[in-house]
Symmetry: C2
Subunit: 129 residues, 2 copies
Amino acid sequence: MEKRNTVQKQLVLQAVRELQCHPTAEEVYQRVAARHPSISKATVYRNLNSLAEDGLVRRVAMPDAADRFDFTVGPHYHIKCAGCGRVIDAPAAYMPRLDAETEKETGFRISRHDLVFEGLCPACREKRA
Amino acid sequence: MEKRNTVQKQLVLQAVRELQCHPTAEEVYQRVAARHPSISKATVYRNLNSLAEDGLVRRVAMPDAADRFDFTVGPHYHIKCAGCGRVIDAPAAYMPRLDAETEKETGFRISRHDLVFEGLCPACREKRA
DNA sequence: GTGGCTGCAAAATGTTTGCACGGAT
DNA sequence: ATCCGTGCAAACATTTTGCAGCCAC
């Protein structure tokens, strides 16, 4: 059950790192395929899952869209532009207190929360004027 | 471009109302089909989209799962059980200040945010002990 | 009567899986 | 030699779409 460090896995990790802005699996695939055309999309998916499992990338599930992958592993929030679909990190700091409070009030054991702002980035805002 | 109020649409809305706990499109379909077996799943999807557009139901997109629909239209947060997948409303109140602060710090025009807690409900917690 | 709505099936997404083989340990 | 990871294609799950006929307006 030992995990191997294959060329493909390294390429996938490197791609997520380089495509800083929360690429989708498809974008990661495109990037890796540019240098290593024989790679299969299934391998990209398998490696993204494996890397997420090991905490080397973070999976960011988006409302009504494909999952995105993030090289910044620590807890933080995201902003999604409704115009162009781009996703960036939000400046707001993670609020651990919310988890504790919700846990107390509900009886659930809360492990974390996700927060996604939705809005328009400056570029898309201009485009609509 | 006028919207019609068909029997199917009424049944879909009624089903979301009755299945209070954030049903998926599939669950809504099952419920409606029980009384009206000739309905098509496509019609359920089309009506859910139409109702969401009109603000009569709310679409709640879930990480790694099918979208859910919610009859409570006002802004509120959700908790998803990692064990059984059930989704319930969270007691925490919506924090409009986050939107204003993020807007100021980023230059985005923020319209809202989604917050989803992840944890284990009491039943699933017991099951793991 | 007309144009949106329905039902059906097919397509479109996004992701996972079965299988045989090749490569790392 | 083992057995994990790969590539390929097919399966899968969810949602959308093309089309002909129907029904509410």
